[in-house]
Structures are given as C-alpha cells and as structure tokens.
Symmetry: C3
Subunit: 471 residues, 3 copies
Amino acid sequence: MAQPLEMHEDRLLPSEPGRRAVARALYAQVKDLPIISPHGHSDPAWYADNIAFADPSRLLIIPDHYLLRMLYSQGVALERLGVPRRDHGPAEEDPRRIWRLFAEHYHLFRGTPSRLWLDYALYHLFGVRQRLAPDTAEAIYDQISDCLARPEFRVRELFRRFNIEVLATTDPPLSDLEAHRRIAAGDWPGRVLPTFRPDPVVDPEAPGFPENLARLGRLTGQDTGRWPGYLKALAERRQFFVRMGATATDHGHPSARTCDLAAADCQRLLDGALAGGLHPEEAEAFRGQMLMEMAKMSLEDGLVMQLHPGSWRNHNLLLYQRFGPDMGADIPTPTNYVQDLKPLLDRLGNEPRLTLILFTLDESAYSRELAPLAGHYPILRLGPAWWFFDSPQGMLRHRRSMIETAGFYNTVGFNDDTRAFASIPARHDLSRRLDCAYLSELVCDHRLAEDEAAELAVDLAYNLAKRAYRL
Amino acid sequence: MAQPLEMHEDRLLPSEPGRRAVARALYAQVKDLPIISPHGHSDPAWYADNIAFADPSRLLIIPDHYLLRMLYSQGVALERLGVPRRDHGPAEEDPRRIWRLFAEHYHLFRGTPSRLWLDYALYHLFGVRQRLAPDTAEAIYDQISDCLARPEFRVRELFRRFNIEVLATTDPPLSDLEAHRRIAAGDWPGRVLPTFRPDPVVDPEAPGFPENLARLGRLTGQDTGRWPGYLKALAERRQFFVRMGATATDHGHPSARTCDLAAADCQRLLDGALAGGLHPEEAEAFRGQMLMEMAKMSLEDGLVMQLHPGSWRNHNLLLYQRFGPDMGADIPTPTNYVQDLKPLLDRLGNEPRLTLILFTLDESAYSRELAPLAGHYPILRLGPAWWFFDSPQGMLRHRRSMIETAGFYNTVGFNDDTRAFASIPARHDLSRRLDCAYLSELVCDHRLAEDEAAELAVDLAYNLAKRAYRL
Amino acid sequence: MAQPLEMHEDRLLPSEPGRRAVARALYAQVKDLPIISPHGHSDPAWYADNIAFADPSRLLIIPDHYLLRMLYSQGVALERLGVPRRDHGPAEEDPRRIWRLFAEHYHLFRGTPSRLWLDYALYHLFGVRQRLAPDTAEAIYDQISDCLARPEFRVRELFRRFNIEVLATTDPPLSDLEAHRRIAAGDWPGRVLPTFRPDPVVDPEAPGFPENLARLGRLTGQDTGRWPGYLKALAERRQFFVRMGATATDHGHPSARTCDLAAADCQRLLDGALAGGLHPEEAEAFRGQMLMEMAKMSLEDGLVMQLHPGSWRNHNLLLYQRFGPDMGADIPTPTNYVQDLKPLLDRLGNEPRLTLILFTLDESAYSRELAPLAGHYPILRLGPAWWFFDSPQGMLRHRRSMIETAGFYNTVGFNDDTRAFASIPARHDLSRRLDCAYLSELVCDHRLAEDEAAELAVDLAYNLAKRAYRL
C-alpha cells in the first residue's frame, strides 16, 4: 500500500526540544539565502542551450554514480539501469522500465543521503506526495514526465527557481569553453563560470597525455615538449579561463604529494612522460611538481586552488573495462597531507595572496592533519565534507573534528559537487540544516552566543564560499 | 553496603523522551525474536553432551579474555584467576576464591560492555538482585552455584530458554566434527552447525603447519605436498563440513592481503612452507593466495567467507610463554582493505554467487575503505562491530560511519562471537537495543519513516544474518 | 554594540533535561575539588619570585601558541602580535595595540577551546562582563591592567585562589632547578615540583646535543662519551630531580619507537651522535634505545614516564627561521604504538612497579591501539586528550573511544599542559564538566548507577591523577 512522502519542516534538526528551537531559529535565517555553488559537475551546454531534461530516469538515475554503486552492490546489473556498454552490448533503453527497476530497490537507500536528495527533489520539484515504491512507480514516473515537458522545467527556469546566484562547472583544460562563451554572449542573467581542471595535461598517467600536450602546444603556440614552453602554455590556458570568468582551479590527484624539483629534473620527467616511460614513482613526482607549478601560477593569476586527493579511480577492473569511468567504483585511500604538502608549504605556505582548499576522503586526517594545518598556514582552507561524507553524519564528524582546532573561518562553506542538477537545492538545504544543528549544539552548550551563531549560520551558508572562491 | 542490581527496561535507549518513545516501540518488536548466532566460539561438545557448567568462575570468568585482560592490566596475576600455567606452576583452583577476587575488582569494568553482559546474565539468568561487590560476592556465588546444579541450567535447556534458532561454532579444519555428528544423530531439536576455519592448514606460520598438512593428506588421501593435491584436499574437507551443515568459512589472517599467483609460484611457496623456510613476506603471500583459493572454492561449494584480519596475536611475549594464547593480549593493527583485497576483487569481486563478509579492528577503515567497498562490490558485506567495538559506542560508530555509504542491506546483522555461553542473550539484546537507538535517530531526524524503521529493526535483528549466512 | 559576557552555570553539560540534571549533580561534587596539575609548562621562577604579570597581552596573548596559530592562519603577522623576531627586526611593543588587534579578531575563536578558556579567565579572574570585541577592547584592557597591579593578582596569591594542591613544571635535564630550590627553601606553602624532560640529552637531533652531553659530563663527573658513563650521568641527574621532588619524566619524541639494542650498538650510536653523523634512522634508533634506558631507570628510581609522541615540530620552515619554536606550527603525524612500543613492552611491559603514560595526536590510535594496549599491559596508562584534543568534542571522543575497552582505571585524570597560567582553572573546569557530561551519558543509558558515577567523577577530577603521578 502506498505510503505518504513527507518532508518534515524540522528534518535533520536536533530532536531535543531546547536544541531544536535554537536550530529552527538559525535555519529560518538561512533557508532562503541564494545558492553559491562554487564546485560542481553540471554541463555548461545545458545552460547555453536551455535544455529540457529527457525523462525521469535520464535526469535522476543514470548519471548518478551514488545510485549506480548501491544498486550494483546488491546485484543489479548496470545494463539493466540503462548504462551504455563500451562494446555497445545490449542495455536497457526504456526509461520507464529503468524507473520501475529502481523503484523496486528504493529501500536500499534507507539511511543514505541519496534517499534524502531524491525525496527532496520528488517532493519539492515535482510535487510527489507518495513514497517511491513498486506500486507508486508508474504514477510518479508520469508525474515527473509531465513536469519535464513543461517550459518551467527547462534548466534556466530551474536555475532561477533554485535561487542560484552563481554556479561553477568543472572544465577540461583544452576546452574552448564554447558553451560558456555562448552563455556570456546571450542575455540570460544566470551566472555560470568555468573551473580550470588540468588533470589531463598535468598527470602523465592520464589517458592520451602526450597527445594532450601536443594539442596544448597547438592551442597556445608553445613548445610543450620543453619545460618552459609547457609551463607557458599552461599559464596561457589559465589566462583564457580567467578571461572567461574562472576563479578557481581543481586538482584530482591520487595523493597530496607536492615537489620542488630542479629545472633539469623537470625536463627529464617531462621527456619521460611524453615518451610514456615514467615509473609510477616518477609519475607521482611529476604530478607533485605540477601542483607546485599550479600554485606558483595562482600567485600570479589569482585562481584559487582546490585539491581533491585520495580517490583510487576505477578500482573495479571489470566494470571499468565494460562501462568506463564514474560508475561508482572509486574507492578512498589513506592520504597524508603533513608530509606530502611540505614542499609546497615550504615555498608558498606563507603567501597572503594564495588560497589552497583541501578536501579529503580519509576522515582520520581531519583532526590529525587537516585542522592543524589549516589552523596555522595562511594559504590553507578546509573544503566541506566530500563525496561519501556529504551526508548528515559525515558533516557532523567534519564539523566536530575540525572546528575546535581550525575555527569556522578557515572553512569555505558548502560545495554541492554534483552532476545531478535536480539535487542541487536538496544538497544545499541539507548542508544548511546540518550546520544549524551543529551551531545549536554550541549554543546550547553555552559555547557560543545566539547572535554569534546567527552570524555564523549566514557565513557558512553564503559568505564563506563567496569569499574563499573570490566570487 | 550492598547496592541493588537493576536492569532498567529502557537501558541503552536514547534518553531524550521523543527519541526514547520511538526506540521503545522499535525494540518491542524485536526483543523476543529468536537468536541467530552465525559466528561464535562455543564448544560443540557442550551441546552433544548436554553439559552442566562447573561453577560460577569457570562459567563466567576464566574463559573470558575480556575479563582477564582488564584484571591483568590492573596488576591481578592470571594465576590468581585460575588460569593454568604452561609449566604447571601453581594457579588458584578454588573457584570461590577466584570469584571473591573478581568481585573485589568489579569496579574496573564500569563503562565497559563486559559489565553490561555480566550484569545481564546475573540478573536474568541467575536472578541476582544485588550488585556484585566484595560484600555480596559470597551470596551471589551461592546463588549461581545453586542454579548450575539444577537440570534447567544444563546447556540444551539454556539454549532453548535463550531462544536460539541456530548457532554456528568455529571448528578446526582437520576436525572429525564428532560432536556435531552426535548432535545431528540425536533427537535434540537444537540447530548447531560447524564453521570451517582453515587457518592451521593455510597459514604457513601456524604452529605445526607441515604436520597439519601431512595429517590433511592422510585424511583425504591427497598429496598435500603438491599444489593440486593440497587444493583438492582442502576442497574435500570443505565438502565434509558442508555435509555436516556448515554454511560458512572463517579466516583469521594478520592482514587482508590477497594474491593471484601463477601455479609455479604457488608450488614454490608451498615447498618453502613445508620446509619451514618462508620469509615473513612469503608467508604473507601464501596466506594471500590461500584466501584467493578459498574464494574460488566458495564459488563452487557455496560457503560464505568471513575475513577477520588485523589482530596481532599474543603481543605480550612473556604472557604467551607462561599461559599460551587467548589471554587478552591480542592487539589491533592498521589494516588496508583497498589495496590488499584488489587481487581477489579483480578476479572474483563481481561474482553474484560469492559472499565475503569483512570485519575490522581498525575503525579508521570504516568510512574510508569498508563502506565504499561494500557499497559497490556485489560480493562484499559488512560484518558487525567486532571485538573491542562490540560495545554501545562501538556499535554506534559502526552504524554512523558506514550506513550512509553502504546502506543497511550490505550489512549482515549481529554476531555474538563469544565463547562465554551465558553472555549470548545479553549480547544480542545489547545489539538490538543499539540498533533501535540508531534507527530512532533516523526516524526523529525525519530521514526514515517509522514503518521503514520497524522493518529494518527486524532485518537487523534477524533477517539479514539468516540471509547473509544462508541459514 | 557591546554584548554581555555570560558564564552559564550549565555550560558544556548536556542540554537534554534528564541528562542535565544528572550531570549537574555530578559536577556539583567535583567543581570545588583542589586542582592537581601533574603536567604543565609554567615557569618555576614565577613562583619563586612571586611575580606580577606585566600586562594583559603578555599574560594572555603572546605566550599562547593556540592564539598565535589561529591569528597567523588568517593573515595576522606575528610581529604585529608582539612576537620577537630572531633577527631583532621590528615587532609591536605596545601591549595595548596588540590587545586591540587581538580583539578585532576575537571572532576567529568561535567554537574553539581558546575562546572558552579566555572567556573564563576574563569573567572569573578579572570580573569582565562584556564580550571582548573592538568596542570593548580598551575598557577590558584597563580592567585587567588594574587587576594585575594589585597584590592579590601576584602569582602565589592566584595559585592559592585557584585552589592548586600541587603543580608540576617541565624542566630541562641540565637545570640546577634553582627556582625550585628557592621555592622549597622559602615558607610559601604552595607545592610546585619539577619534571625531568631529558630530550636535549637523549635526542641526538636536539640542538647542541654534543655540547649538552659535555655539560652533562661536567655536571656529574661522568664520561658521557662512553655508554656506561652516559647512562650513569643520566641516572644521577634523575636522582637530583627526585631529591628536588620530581615524580615523573616526560619524553617528547617524534614517534613512539623503542629499541632494545646490544651495548656495542649503543656505543656505536653514541659515537655517531657525538660526531653529529647519525642518519635519521639511526637517530630514531638512538631515541628508541633511550626510552628503554629511561624505563629501566624508572624501575629503579620510581619516576613515572610520560610519552608525548607524534608532533612534527616547527613544520613551517620560514616561521621557524624568523621566530623560533613554539609558534603554533607543530603538526601531528600518524603514530604507531603497537609496533613501536613492542621492544619496551617485551622487556618491561609486565613490571608492576613501572608506569608509562601514553599520549597521542593521532586519534585513529585511540580505539585501535591505545585502549587495547592499556587495557592489557600493567605498565600502561592513558593520558588525557592532548593539545588539539583538549577541547569539548576532543574529550568526548577520547572517552567514548577508549573507556569501553580500557575502563576508567587505566586513565590518569586531567593535565592542563599549559604555559598560560591564567587558563589553569578554566581548563580543569572544562575537563570536569565534560567528564560529568560523559558520566551522565552512562547513567542515563543505565550503564552505570549514580553512586558509581559520583565516585568516578571524583576519581577523574582528583584521585586518578594523584595516584598515577604518585603525588
């Protein structure tokens, strides 16, 4: 029998009445603030073309690696979820059947943030009032389909309705940013900015690295086979991104390793990288040197750096061969920041004009490494709880483990970090609720006055992100 | 002055009245469910012989390494607790004196799960109504002694009274399972199953490894000095366990290391192991290869695998020399799953018919490794909070760190993992209470509806264990 | 507009009314107990000379590396805070300007323990009733200045007013303990004891190690270039400290490494250390051997050992060159106790007369290593939450992660560990409140009876420290 879908106004706020009252008052002040989304993975072409989303499954299920991973872990083949195979083998194409399959497994998401994000979107975006389940799947599919066909569900209108003040995409370094160009040239008032993500041209283990550098050379007229020309070409590309509105770079390295090598060593590594002959340790050194070079360039061009280390990409060999990347098979690894960042901090850690935002998938580094580092070095800031930890308990651990050492003002507010457009308001709302819950803890412990908590709630929801990302 | 011993009906449920009401309602639905005990260390001969327990100290103190470790840490010599010395030196033999000594130190267990388990058994099993202390020790000793002399305190009657639906023991690989055979042959309706624990014949550092393999060869008629014969012999032993009712294997390796070696390398390692000449790194590779072989055999015979890695056994050299193993001197070590399991996952991680249940003594792996792995790979499931973490806060950390990423359905319910028979109901009750407490948190956060929480409470207490262990 | 400064009587106690009532009752029993301060860094000369503190900034800001690190992380130059440069470059000298600068940045400390400690001192010690902020900075400065000029704010009077029963300083091994001698010779009843901190003469990487050993030789008449003479000299120095009232040693090594080397190897390492030619790994072995030697000497002279490992001192190269040590640039590193302490535990772990108190900056070791070790080895005790974790959430994590395995009686109460004299009562009060909050959790979970919690509250606040440190 169908169960109602409810969105309790106090969800995620503390249940103890005294704390709940404080948290409620704080949340009331931030729930309607505009969304600052300084880091995410939506496609800029959506905004340039003002697309309509195709169907419920292509909007909500197929692109969401959080959903794919969980379903796959319980024996649901990705083909049945409509994920295309690299060998063009058969995969489900009927979005309605995919939706039904998903509904049959919706109970798997109990207790996960995916459930919270989806229910929020179903309720607030599409007006669904019944819980998704096998017996409600069809009706809900129809209801969403009806919505998606209407003009007010095109992406620009949703962007406005979501109250997004500014949103950054993540873009490849060789991109011509054509979609961004079209957005800028048009009269749509939405603010969508690119982010410079140079992994394909700074990681010698990236697919096609030599070809990427050849293209980089052609694009910039620099000799990317020589260290100085290579750096110059990168600096030019960054300048192009800056001209197109970028305020940040993003770096997805396997570790936080940084290096400070002599120029001759750099050239030698570059030669090896172009010849495809670097040992893993040399590749690691190359990436480490490139983080240093990126930091030096940031000193010049003002781009804020983001470092997202510690993900073992495509850990499941078979799945990668069959479906490619981003299928929910990326697994965290232990990450050391104190040792690995030392070369960069030795050279640039005290630069007042540089900002390096650190993320982690290794929560043991929160209190041992990240908070002490960010609570000392002027260039360091702490990114929000990332990926698996972008969840209620994950956020609480992040706050409770780091604020006491690093304070609030070495943090940078929230990132939704999503390619699931429909989930953006849900994610920001969840973050705001959890921050108010955390602040209410400090208020009710009498560690913080209510006027200070109110100021911090707005800082965490809005000001800190704008400031840290120079938006 | 004697203090009362009380068992509050709401113990371990949240103290905030709103959450307590929800937790109470959930607990009411699970408290009387039958016990599924798929992993433990009780002696099958107890059930075959329907033994009576000797005295309070031999039942409750001497076999419990949790108690021994704590008392030893505070200067109580193990001899005084009746633990026999290997050199047959003097040790206390009077159970009443051991009991008195224990009572004098009972305050050491404040805040520990041992205290909860013992108080539960004293109260519910033996009807004790005064707190154990020096001034009540004698009377309580007498009260328990009286009970143990009565027929309704023989082990089969307790098994029935505890409402155990099925219980698995842990058995050596060369065992003839004679006790299990007798249980099966009799007319007692209790269901007691063996578990195949092959450490003595797959770990080249196990005491007497070459002799064990010789015996394995004799038992199976295989040439265990040759790799194919060795594997065949193991497969036969597993088949024997399957015929005797086993549904699972258990592996107690020092790390989670797995290997996928060529046959020639396997033979070379086996030769070295039989000659007693493996370097530690080779021994580690041997064990890693054997986990792979066990997994391949599980694909054939359907036995569920359990991996309990990361305990440094017998860390206290002197104590081991004097008293032998299992004296409370096993200490956890950092454990890496993402790297170590890769060879096995590469080969078998996507097999729908295989189940590998992971345990850990390294809580930093919960959110960084175990939940992301289990939330993706179809073969992986998460064992309950193990050993030191089989405790209220330990269970909460386990749930809070993993459910958001792995969901509930990649977990396997509770294991009591005990050789302390009298503590079985206490341990299951504690687990059920803590799960209801955790679920009430999700309900009161409005992350989960009450009907879903009710379903999950039963799953966590009963269904998940039956399903995961194929019982 | 100025905001009031309030000290709520229930601060840091749980907000749920049921738990709060229990916590309040417990706290009432401990709040006025005398302070036992067995580990700290105040200057014994203060007490010998009964000094008056110079001004608010020199009392509360300049010596506090917690404050310096946070201000520096947000771009405040240390020169502007009055920290003297090694090159005698300009630094602010006007304490009032430093105070104003600090007040402008006081919001940075929201949510940190520094804020709690400072507010406590402002309120209780100096009678301040307005929150520190730019508009109240002047008035508060004046108010504190007035106090500091009065005789009842001299250090001995504060010592009495703080109700300190005994306080230990931390002293260099070559010190003549002249201040301690003067305290002992006078008629002041305050009990101030030295602690033997031998790092400068047992760490071959300490600045001036060869010179330190030469001085050690001269002081003791021993040949410190020969291993036996070196050990004898150290034993003599320890004896001197014992005669002056010391009950403990303290060891600030980069790791927990211990060694058990042959005498010839020891001499070889000593030769290398004196020649300044040890490799880092040899230096590590030297320090590891010296922990072993110190433990052996403790068996003789009864000094309790404290091990504070895992801090990467002076991680910020530039800052160290400009200002020297203790500027808030010490960063934790991963620390392994199970492997590193094995040699010492193998030799001395079962000695009933030895006590080794362990601290950590790596919280992942709490449940994985420290609690299981201390819950077994008779010589081991757990120090309180240290440094960055000397904070409300840090203390709760410490208790919740360790008590269930190690129990309360393997812990040693609280250390204030401070050179900020004015913060001593604030730190002890915070610790007592948090322990009562934790105990109330156990009581309301019905894991502990109220009479037991009351006993434990006094133990944690008073008895355990006295007993562990043999005071």
